[in-house]
């Protein structure tokens, strides 16, 4: 797809000409990071956006969820936007991370840290195994194979073999295995920082990977796989690298999600979960540095908050034509997604650029 590539444009321009005050504006991610680190100490109320002050446990939980899904979408974009692989099975590796870590703790009685490491390792190994099989086919067939594997995983979790997955109930995290600093509502701030750390890790890894020589080949594969082959490179290995890296990041996200929500739920194994990742990435802007993050944060926030808003007095008083659709976040998000696919190819991140070109065009029009 060529629609997503021009996103790199402005970033490069900025790097070439850092004249005057613009040099300082380049550091805005660091400022945002400092603000995000300081959030748990703040009692600033954000009425409408959040329920209660920003540093309260409930708000921190929601913010941390937003960060986790932002990171997860960024990792997923490694496949979709960077390598051009449309995987419908990403939920599997996320769920593997959270379920396996929980199972290692509760069923095998392992301590916390080895369980997390083993969960990550086995999630990554699963991605390597299934990726090496799925990537033997390409195009829609690849999407279907990944979908089939993920669906098999989802059915397996629902089947609850030997009472290991907990079926529809999911699994609760064994509280006695958790370090004291991560258990209980009082320690939500620590979990929030873990989520933030996961986000930073994902952003750094993706940024570094995309800039590496392997990342250049990914870009080539996305644009024209045949050409990469003609250059004497085997796309299979490069695609598998992207798949395993994205799978490992997803497994890590699964672990963070497990800690944050206190359990593993079967909803994270479904194909709907992968589809929501797809929506996040495309909403924000596939193939861009910040797009998937923005998409993930906005989607998660909307999914959680719109439901609450629907129950509140402001929406309940509306006539039913407005109230009924507003009560379903997924309806709004699905519609918004279609609109973005339509009028904003490249996602929300391209909005400023588009507005700028539109303004330039209207400014030039009377002069011409």
């Amino acid at each position: 797809m060529t629609t997503a590539t021009p996103v790199r444009g402005p970033a490069r321009e900025k790097a070439v000409a850092p004249a005057g005050p613009r040099r300082w504006t380049r550091w805005w991610p660091a400022v945002v990071l400092l603000v995000l680190i300081a959030v748990p100490y703040s009692a600033l109320p954000l009425p409408g956006l959040l329920d209660g002050p920003i540093g309260s446990a409930g708000s921190l939980q929601l913010l941390a969820l937003c960060l986790v899904f932002g990171a997860l979408a960024t990792g997923y974009d490694l496949l979709l936007g960077r390598t051009g692989l449309l995987s419908f099975g990403h939920a599997l590796y996320f769920a593997a991370g959270s379920y396996l870590t929980d199972i290692f703790m509760a069923e095998f009685g392992l301590p916390f840290v080895p369980s997390v490491l083993l969960g990550l390792l086995s999630g990554t190994a699963l991605a390597a195994l299934l990726g090496s099989v799925s990537l033997r086919v390409s195009g829609i067939a690849f999407s279907m194979v990944t979908l089939a594997f993920a669906q098999a995983g989802s059915l397996l979790v629902e089947r609850d073999p030997g009472g290991v997955t907990g079926g529809e109930e999911g699994r609760a995290i064994p509280a006695d295995k958790l370090p004291a600093s991560l258990a209980g509502i009082g320690n939500t701030a620590n979990l929030y920082w873990i989520a933030l750390a996961y986000l930073v890790l994902t952003l750094v890894v993706v940024h570094w990977a995309v800039r590496s020589p392997t990342g250049r080949v990914w870009e080539g594969i996305k644009e024209n796989e045949r050409r990469v082959e003609v250059l004497g490179l085997r796309p299979y290995g490069f695609k598998l690298t992207a798949f395993v890296l994205a799978g490992a990041l997803a497994a890590a996200g699964g672990v963070v999600h497990l800690l944050l929500t206190g359990g593993a739920t079967p909803q994270t194994t479904t194909s709907d979960f992968t589809l929501s990742l797809l929506v996040m990435v495309v909403l924000g802007g596939s193939g861009s540095r910040w797009g998937p993050l923005i998409g993930g944060v906005v989607y998660t926030w909307a999914d959680q908050r719109l439901g609450d808003l629907a129950g509140s007095g402001t929406v309940a008083g509306l006539p039913s034509v407005l109230r009924v659709p507003l009560s379903q976040p997924l309806f709004l998000l699905g519609t918004l997604f279609v609109v973005v696919v339509y009028v904003l190819p490249g996602g929300v991140v391209r909005l400023p650029e588009r507005l700028r070109t539109a303004r330039v065009r209207t400014a030039r029009a009377p002069a011409a």
Binding site: M1, T3, L86, V133, S134, R136, V137, G139, I140, A141, S143, M144, V145, L147, A148, F149, Q151, A152, L155, L156, E158, R159, S271, D272, L275, S276, L278, V279, V282, V324, P325, S327, Q328, P329, L330, F331, L333, G334, T335, F337, V338, V341, Y342, P345
Partner: protein
């Protein structure tokens, strides 16, 4: 013996349901290269349309006799209309951008079930079927629910109608030629876009009919029904070969039977798992499907 007969007929009924969803999906993908993720939503629209009409909201329609036929016809018509609208409003402006088309259908596939559960609630609603279809009849010692036969009958009618349409009419010829080689058909000066809308209408009608009769089969309708059927329809489409109606029919019967027998004779749920794994294995061994092609 009685169990085997019951399982076989139930499997056939399920296969008929899969065929109704998969036939349209297969034609749409074969002709347009669009994997229609909104196909489950079309099925749900048909199911809810029939349920709404059969619950006495539509004058003349009801839960028995001619009223029920009218209700099913109403649901099918609403589903067809939704499919045509989907094609004209959302798919058409995105021609030549297949990935965006798939994304748009994903959005619709998420939004429509959400809208349905916003209007009628996310819980399953009892589907009011006619009394004559809720009973059972005896066959080789087994008591078989009548609605299985209705599904099989409807699927057979759709299969024959589709074969006749594709084989005997000019529009069918254009669709078949388009599945084979779309660029060539366009080069011959035939407006293949009209065939796109037609295929969407046919697929939507079949899926909506499947939804209406699926309500009979399951005894209830819920917003997630279409989406959960969609995955198995994908299996059928891939097994049957993209764009092949006869292949879809054969694969639907196979998948339905395998699922029923495996679910009964091994652990419950293992049949579903077997079918999904079968999809992966099949794609890996023969990326082109059993009879047709895959992009």
């Amino acid at each position: 013996m009685a169990t085997v007969v019951l399982l076989a007929v139930t499997g056939l009924g399920l296969g008929a349901l899969y065929f109704l969803v998969a036939s349209g999906l297969s034609l749409i993908f074969g002709l347009m290269d669009v994997l229609n993720f909104a196909h489950g939503a079309l099925l749900s629209i048909g199911a809810y349309g029939s349920w709404w009409a059969a619950s006495g909201h539509l004058p003349g329609a009801g839960s028995s006799g001619a009223g029920f036929v009218l209700a099913v016809a109403f649901g099918t018509a609403v589903g067809t209309l939704a499919a045509v609208l989907l094609e004209l409003v959302l798919i058409r402006p995105l021609y030549e951008r297949p990935r965006e088309q798939v994304l748009a259908t994903v959005g619709v596939g998420l939004a429509v079930p959400a809208l349905l559960s916003a209007i009628w609630g996310s819980d399953a609603r009892t589907f009011p079927g006619p009394h004559a279809l809720s009973g059972t009849f005896g066959l080789l010692g087994a008591r078989i629910p009548v609605n299985r036969l209705v599904l099989v009958g409807a699927a057979l009618v759709v299969l024959v109608a589709l074969r006749l349409f594709l084989g005997r009419t000019r529009h069918g010829l254009v669709v078949r030629a388009g599945v084979e080689d779309r660029a060539m058909v366009t080069a011959l000066g035939i407006d293949v876009r009209r065939a796109f809308t037609l295929v969407f209408a046919i697929g939507g009608a079949a899926a909506a009919l499947g939804g209406a009769l699926g309500g009979l089969y399951y005894g209830s309708v819920d917003p997630g029904q279409g989406t959960s059927l969609l995955i198995f329809a994908f299996v059928v489409v891939v097994m049957g070969g993209m764009g092949s109606v006869a292949g879809a029919a054969l694969a639907a019967v196979g998948v339905g039977l395998v699922q029923q027998f495996a679910n009964y004779y091994t652990a419950s749920g293992l049949g579903d798992l077997a079918v999904v794994v079968l999809l992966a294995v099949l794609l890996l061994l023969r990326p082109s499907g059993l009879t047709g092609r895959l992009a």
